[in-house]
């Protein structure tokens, strides 16, 4: 056996162990990126091989937490893909406004930038107080950050640019207070968002949603887990509800796609059919 094959076996055993002890299942994540990140974690750790890491990992929650931080990727930004947010504003919000109250689910919200962007957008469209947003993630450390609503001030320049390109109608600076090197988001943005843990690999649906967003999360999953997620979103969505995926994710070539019409195909905005 080549050394590589040994490593593949070690990784499989490691993920198996993690699943059994801690209940986090990473076996359905696409191999290439998880392997890359595991190797990265190993290189930074005190261990030489995954087998060596294994025994401590299974006994010491601290080691597991560090692994978890290492293998979940939480990169995000406010108004990521401005054209997408512009399309939501122009083509989705008009439908949402026809309801007295709407429910929104951000699956894989990371540190919350996407949810806060949506809150800004909805408030500008006069929907403040008329929606509840559930923003969920597998990683509780990022959820805590999300709930705090504090961002590095250095991010604000890009955020402002994205916001403007995304069709923002007010002054972005009004949405945060600068304090040293941090930007504290205004509480008006937080009041309608609930941050909660939810694992797409094992947990169930959120009922009666008008809008579900899951962007740049399923790209990390193997086909079977992607299918599970799409079924989950489908059963969470009301007829006429909207599903938004990342720019490189698509319902094309998928069975479930038949139940949706394209609202903005390039921007991956879909609407669930009524019948």
């Amino acid at each position: 056996m080549k050394r590589d094959d040994v490593e593949d076996v070690e990784i499989r055993l490691l993920l198996e162990g993690v699943q059994q002890i801690y209940g986090y299942d990473f076996r359905d994540y696409a191999d290439a990126s998880i392997k890359r990140r595991l190797n990265h974690w190993l290189a930074e750790s005190e261990f030489d091989t995954f087998s060596q890491a294994q025994s401590q990992l299974l006994r010491d929650r601290g080691v597991f937490e560090s692994l978890l931080r290492g293998i979940t990727v939480n990169v995000t930004e406010m108004f990521r893909d401005p054209a997408f947010f512009r399309a939501v504003r122009e083509q989705v919000v008009p439908f949402l406004k026809t309801y007295p109250f709407v429910k929104i689910w951000h699956a894989g919200c990371a540190t919350g930038e996407e949810a806060y962007s949506m809150a800004i957008l909805l408030n500008e469209e006069g929907m403040s107080g008329r929606y509840r947003m559930y923003a969920t993630d597998i990683n509780e450390a990022v959820l805590q950050k999300a709930a705090d609503g504090v961002m590095p001030i250095a991010e604000m320049q890009r955020s402002t640019r994205n916001y403007q390109k995304g069709g923002g109608t007010a002054s972005f600076a009004d949405y945060y207070t600068a304090r040293y090197d941090r930007a504290i988001l205004s509480s008006a943005l937080k009041k309608d968002i609930v941050f909660a843990p939810h694992n797409l690999a094992v947990d169930g649906e959120f009922g009666e949603m008008n809008l579900v967003l899951c962007r740049n999360v399923m790209i990390y999953f193997k086909p079977a887990l992607k299918e599970r997620c799409l079924r989950l979103f489908d059963s969470s969505l009301l007829p006429g509800g909207f599903l938004c995926l990342g720019l490189k994710e698509t319902l094309e070539r998928r069975k479930i796609g038949e139940r949706y019409e394209e609202v903005a195909a390039n921007l991956r905005i879909y609407r669930k059919r009524y019948a």
């Binding site: 191999d31 290439a32 890359r36 990727v73 990169v75 790209i219 992607k226």
Partner: protein
Amino acid sequence: MRRKFEAVAIGVSTGGVHALQTLLGRLPADFPLPILIVQHMRADAGSGLAQLLDECCALCVKEADEQDEILPGKAYLAPPNYHLLVEREGFLSLSADPHVSFARPSVDVLFESAAEVFGPQLIGIVLTGANFDGSLGLKAIKQKGGIAIVQDPEDAEARQMPQAAIAATEVDHILALNGIAALLQKLAPRRAAMARGTRETG
């Protein structure tokens, strides 16, 4: 025995549009290997480059979508703002991981994951560019037994990336674009010998 290559991976940055037009333009429509390409670009660059290349080359060029099956004779371009990776099951995946070597898509990420999957059956090529991305990746390709080709810095619009690659690993061929195109056709298996079983993808 002649080695049977399974894929070509190309990394390119500054000056890349022209270099890719030249290189891909010289390959025939029935070039029998899949070609995976990372061209550095701005996050909001849009999908124009794949289209442009597709129109000017005999080969079919497309921007990679998640879960695209890797097919012989097709060229896949990493989308702006995503890393492009190769999965064992014979398809592509994308990631929004942080920048690597200051780039996303990063050549190193593509090369390292392709090297894992294709091992000695991989041809890695570093072309023109004004940074250092790709040299670690090319080294990984060599370590897994693949073949390393670098554009002659004299022939490159920006020489840093080829030079860095040459410094980082023992390169098999240093050639101008024309030479690389000719070499690829020599290395590629002949069409008839190619017919490999269709692989199951989940």
